[in-house]
């Protein structure tokens, strides 16, 4: 027994290092400071002219943050232009082409400040933590974040049932007690 416990201890220490970051649930978003002084109209060369503060940390290797980003991506209707990352009115996010750079702070700037030709500035709508979560998700779309932290398939509960699933009266809704 004792031996197996000594082993346990060692593994634990290693695992602590590996696991914590990925699994941490950052629940207490402390009061974020206002949007930094960035100039909203941007020059077209990649990269912002100010570096976004990373105090709240990028969520790149944090599973929960990335998933929250995924949820925001749907809720904020980013798909309206980017579809599910495939691109449409807006550029695709799944490929490795980055007009304004793929570094977290660059994507942060893109989301916060907006870009010409339609990308709105979100810094007044979302707080930094949320933007960082979106950054993590957007980067995960093109595999720039650690695989272990990337979200799995979406349950897309909120969309209508997929076309191939024509609702079938019998087994479901067995409880509908409308007289």
């Amino acid at each position: 027994m004792t031996d197996s416990f000594r082993v346990t201890l060692v593994i634990t220490l290693c695992a602590l290092v590996l696991g914590c970051e990925r699994e941490e649930r950052r629940l207490n978003s402390q009061q974020p400071k206002g949007p930094q002084q960035m100039v909203t109209q941007v020059s077209l060369q990649p990269g912002p002219n100010v570096v976004a503060d990373t105090e709240e940390g990028a969520f790149d290797d944090n599973a929960q943050g990335t998933t929250e980003g995924q949820i925001l991506f749907a809720q904020m209707n980013c798909s309206g232009c980017h579809s599910n990352g495939g691109g449409g009115m807006g550029p695709p996010l799944m490929d490795d082409q980055w007009i304004y750079g793929s570094r977290p702070d660059q994507i942060f700037a893109t989301i916060a400040e907006g870009r010409p030709n339609g990308m709105p500035a979100w810094k007044y709508k979302l707080n930094n933590q949320q933007i960082w979560q979106l950054v993590a998700y957007v980067r995960s779309l093109s595999g720039l974040t650690p695989k272990s932290a990337r979200p799995g398939r979406d349950d897309h509960m909120n969309v209508k049932p997929a076309p191939m699933q024509t609702p079938n009266a019998k087994p479901k809704n067995s409880q509908s007690t409308t007289p």
Partner: protein, 202 residues
Amino acid sequence: MRPVRPAADASMLPTVTYGPRSLMWWATLGFSTIEGWTTALLVASYLYLRQNYASWPPLRTPNPSLLVPTINIVLMALSIVPAELASRAGKRLDKRGVQFWLLVTSAVCVAILVLRWWELWALRTRWDTNAYGSAAWTIVGFHASLLLFDVIDTIGLTIFFWFRRLPLKSYSDVSDNTFYWYFTIGVWLPIYLIVYVGPHLF
């Protein structure tokens, strides 16, 4: 402890037995039951999910192709012959027979296992397309793992019989191996009918 009085002598009892008299046979039976039951539960889930669909397979999903699976099930049927002959040779303690028929059996097993790869794609859907794909892939995949285990078992036994001098109880193991093989292909028949033929019929 009370004093003991010998009342029976076991020294004349056999040390190698076949079928239900050997412990290995019972172990095989036990694990066959477990694996068979797991398969049954998977198939039940497959049918349960089917209720969520009006058409099966779902719209825009083609029926599974029957070519490879049918070839494979014929192979399985044929594989009974060498397996049975190996088992019988084992029951005669006939080393040559065992060696030869085990070799044939392993060959057929490997062929079946290889065909299983195309059998998966014969489902003509992907596991991540929808629940139908997931269910079909899981069932066929799970059976593939049983197949793999059986193949390892058979090949191992074959190697032993060709390259090692074995104690006599190995001859009894041959018939248990055949027994397990029968189970593996026996449990495949319903899968073949439900997962591959089923969608064509209803």
